[in-house]
């Protein structure tokens, strides 16, 4: 039996204004609410609303047999409530169908897991509490920012008794001869099950869909459904296998424009899965795996951090260069001082700054996906982003001094 496990990520950061040294310590906000608002408005109209409506229709059309995971970060939730609450209503409707599982992550989409364990735990708790109070559900599956994972992350999550599943990248360097279509147990005493993204099938949609130089272009829903079903030949007939397709929800309508046919693809693909896979396939939510799986699992030993970023599947795009390391060190140092002082206002600013986007804008890794960098970053180069970020932290330091 093949279980198809789709999960879509939704995130937008709070963006910094372009600061000058003379803005430091002044009363004005350092965040660019106007820019945030215009982006949230655009992305909601182009992507979130049409994509979520299609997902809702798919659930209805297939009588609840179509299911998927969804994760919304805290900064996005806050901005949607301000600028486009209709998106939140749509998510609530989807949750009510019981065919949409909301995942847990760090509230601020941060890199706290790399720098500060206490802050990491705080942000995961804050996210779980926010999801519960807003949607009335308790997440049981965890996805870290950029699907960053290592044994250490499973260790840090051990205290969260309700989080039994962790999602991460099916990176070849950790799998070696193993396949990403089976669940694995976390290393050591950690009890969690790990679901691995099938990065080839995921990136065929998220990256290749509109690539006219790709030999499989154009990607039809039928062709894609067949590729998914081909995974079924990899195991025994009585075994449960998993096809984990994870990507940003912005893939639909934002990264790939409506005119590319991406929405039609999304509409048709589940129907074709059922048609081609017949009784050998079903859509499954991450948490349901705990009910399906009772056998022993191989242990996945991940010593070095992996992530879903670029083809290197490491953390070099967020924590690779010295600018990123120095600025994150400065951030977490100040964050701890704000905690000690109990300065809630400064804490909130620093936590907003902890979104991984700010580190990504400083990327200089030579393999860097420049198209993605240009899309996500609103700075002319890494050094300008670094300078601006240091100003922001220095600003908080001055407010606190």
């Amino acid at each position: 039996m093949l279980n198809i496990v789709p999960y879509f990520q939704m995130h937008q950061p709070f963006r910094l204004k372009k600061l000058s040294i003379f803005d430091i310590g002044k009363e004005n906000s350092i965040f660019d609410n106007e820019l945030d608002k215009s982006l949230i408005t655009r992305i909601s109209e182009k992507s979130y609303i049409p994509a979520l409506e299609i997902l809702l229709n798919l659930v209805t059309k297939h009588d609840g047999r179509f299911k998927f995971g969804l994760s919304l970060t805290g900064p996005l939730i806050q901005q949607l409530l301000l600028y486009n609450p209709k998106v939140i209503d749509l998510v609530q409707k989807l949750i009510n169908t019981k065919c949409c599982e909301i995942l847990a992550e760090t509230y601020y989409h941060s890199l706290a897991s790399l720098y500060d364990e206490n802050e990491f735990i705080h942000q995961v708790n804050k996210h779980i509490n926010t999801i519960y109070s807003l949607f009335g559900v308790v997440p049981t599956t965890f996805r870290n920012t950029e699907l960053i994972y290592s044994n250490k992350i499973a260790d840090m999550l051990r205290g969260f008794k309700t989080l039994n599943i962790i999602l991460t990248e099916g990176a070849e360097k950790i799998l070696e001869w193993k396949l990403p279509i089976r669940p694995y147990k976390a290393y050591g005493k950690n009890p969690q099950l790990i679901l691995l993204r099938h990065h080839i099938l995921s990136e065929d949609i998220s990256i290749n869909f509109n690539n006219k130089n790709w030999k499989e272009y154009p990607l039809t829903a039928e062709k894609y459904a067949k590729w998914c079903m081909d995974l079924n030949y990899s195991g025994n007939s009585d075994e449960s296998l998993y096809c984990n397709i994870f990507m940003d929800l912005e893939t639909f309508g934002e990264h790939h424009d409506d005119s590319t046919g991406i929405f039609e693809f999304l509409k048709d693909w589940p129907t074709l899965i059922f048609k081609i896979g017949k009784n050998d396939v079903r859509f499954t939510l991450p948490f349901e795996i705990m009910n399906i799986e009772n056998s022993k699992h191989d242990v996945l030993n991940v010593k070095d951090y992996i992530s879903w970023n670029s083809y290197k599947k490491d953390i070099s795009a967020f924590a690779g260069n010295e600018m990123q390391k120095n600025s994150q060190m400065a951030l977490y140092k100040q964050l701890n001082e704000a905690k000690l002082k109990g300065d809630e206002v400064s804490l909130e600013i620093l936590r907003k700054l902890s979104s991984s986007d700010n580190a990504f804008y400083m990327a200089t890794a030579p393999f860097l996906d420049t198209a993605a960098f240009k899309y996500f970053s609103y700075y002319p180069n890494a050094e300008t982003a670094y300078q601006n970020f240091l100003y922001a932290i220095a600003h908080v330091e001055e407010l606190m001094a």
């Binding site: 003379f22 260069n321 120095n326 240091l390 001055e398």
Partner: protein, 440 residues
């Protein structure tokens, strides 16, 4: 007394040393009755006629011909723009470019005849060399060519008694104007290619500097330090060199500190290039922050080493204690000075160095490199070898732990700099103009 004044930089946009020196001497000489035809590397064909001291602040352009003027005014739909906006439209450059950044070669072009006026063999050869250099290149050399053409047009239109050209970018134009008009040429040297490159430098620029300084009737050097360089390296005839130190226009209202940071601020102000020694500033920062972390080191400026320094400072994990600002305009430079406590000028080779004078006028304790012209004119500063980061760190740590001493040092510096006024230096320049007029 009418002077054709050629410079690549002039305020309001550029706040570097060359611009401020030109502004200072022009303003003082205007007070002494000298009139100027000022030519800048504008993209529009204009010059500026300065008669009254205020004219130096309110640059009013004169178009070379009515046709360009009407075309320009036609393209300007709204005449209610500020003077600064207007100058921007004329194409006054906003960032300094006295050092070379690009040099692609293009086809031989049109102004060669301007260089074929001398009959003397030696001069002829030098002129041939520069002609080939500036005619065969693009980038900055192309701009030098365009500037020379423009100056040649203006030299026909206006009346002047002598030509005063600043640094190599203006020397070819100065030579052209002198040969066309038969009027004496003064080449003012603010920096040599040896200073800028910290080594051998660009041979094409050396040739232009050599030609300008050799052909000039007078050479004004901004310091003895630089006079020594041009005598030793270019064999300039010592009898025609005059040393005129730069000075400083004291602002009346720069008394009060407008702090940004609560902790003491240590400043670097200048281009981030090898000449200015920015790496020594970073090394000092690293040493000071290790023992005294509650400070801010701020690097103001831009240049080809900026990226490397940003990366290196991050590597040193100085957190937010070392900050970069990028390029700053005049107003911002004053604002950052009023927020600073200590300034370092760690230049490897500095013909003059006006920034320390300005820092001193803001009551800032100042550390300057011994390899600088400014060290010839001030005493209430710390003079160190540019490479001696230990010494600089020790001075800073001493000042940080003795705030009273730091304040006193700043006060003394301020009192001293009040005496270094353009008025005196302008007299020396005026004397130089007069000497030339008497001898012709």
């Amino acid at each position: 007394m009418k002077v054709l004044f050629l410079t690549w930089e002039f305020p309001p946009f550029i706040s570097g040393g060359l611009a401020m020196a030109c502004y200072g001497m022009v303003k003082s000489l205007l007070k002494k009755g000298v009139e100027f035809t000022l030519v800048l590397p504008t993209s529009a064909d204009v010059y500026f006629h300065l008669v009254k001291p205020e004219d130096a602040d309110q640059l009013t352009p004169i178009f070379i011909d009515d046709k360009t003027k009407s075309e320009f005014e036609y393209s300007l739909n709204n005449s209610n723009i500020s003077n600064i906006e207007f100058l921007k439209l004329l194409g006054v450059s906003e960032t300094p470019e006295t050092y070379l950044s690009s040099s692609d070669f293009v086809e031989f072009m049109s102004i060669e005849r301007y260089f074929e006026v001398s009959n003397e063999i030696n001069t002829k050869n030098i002129l041939k060399e520069i002609k080939e250099n500036i005619l065969s290149s693009s980038g900055l050399f192309k701009k030098v060519r365009e500037f020379s053409i423009k100056v040649s047009k203006i030299a026909k239109l206006v009346d002047f008694d002598c030509i005063h050209a600043h640094d190599w970018l203006c020397y070819p134009a100065g030579i052209v104007a002198a040969n066309m008009s038969g009027k004496p040429l003064i080449c003012h040297i603010h920096a040599t290619e040896f200073d800028r490159s910290g080594g051998t430098g660009d041979e094409r620029i050396h040739k232009i500097e050599y030609a300008g300084l050799s052909l000039a009737d007078r050479v004004i050097s901004v310091s003895n330090y630089t006079a020594n360089i041009i005598v030793n390296r270019y064999r300039v005839d010592t009898s025609k060199i005059r040393v005129v130190h730069n000075a400083f226009h004291l602002k009346t209202d720069n008394g009060e500190k407008k702090r940004i940071f609560k902790d003491p601020v240590i400043l670097f102000l200048g281009r981030i290039t090898l000449q200015k020694g920015p790496e020594y500033f970073l090394e000092v920062a690293k040493r000071v922050i290790e023992t005294y972390p509650l400070v801010r080191f701020i690097m103001v400026g831009t240049g080809d080493l900026a990226k490397r320094l940003i990366q290196k400072s991050a590597e040193y994990k100085l957190l937010t204690r070392f900050l970069f600002t990028g390029f700053m305009n005049r107003e911002e430079v004053e604002a950052i000075l009023s927020a600073s406590d200590i300034m370092i000028l760690p230049s490897v080779s500095e013909p003059f160095g006006i920034a320390p004078l300005e820092a001193m006028s803001f009551g800032i304790a100042t550390i300057i490199s011994k390899q600088s012209g400014v060290s010839e004119v001030v005493n209430n500063v710390y003079k160190v070898n540019f490479w001696d980061v230990e010494e600089m760190s020790n001075i800073i740590l001493d000042l940080l732990s003795n705030p009273e001493k730091m304040r006193e040092m700043g006060q003394k510096a301020r009192q001293e700099v009040e005496k270094i006024q353009w008025d005196k230096s302008a007299d020396l320049i005026l004397k130089c103009y007069k000497e030339l007029l008497c001898s012709t």
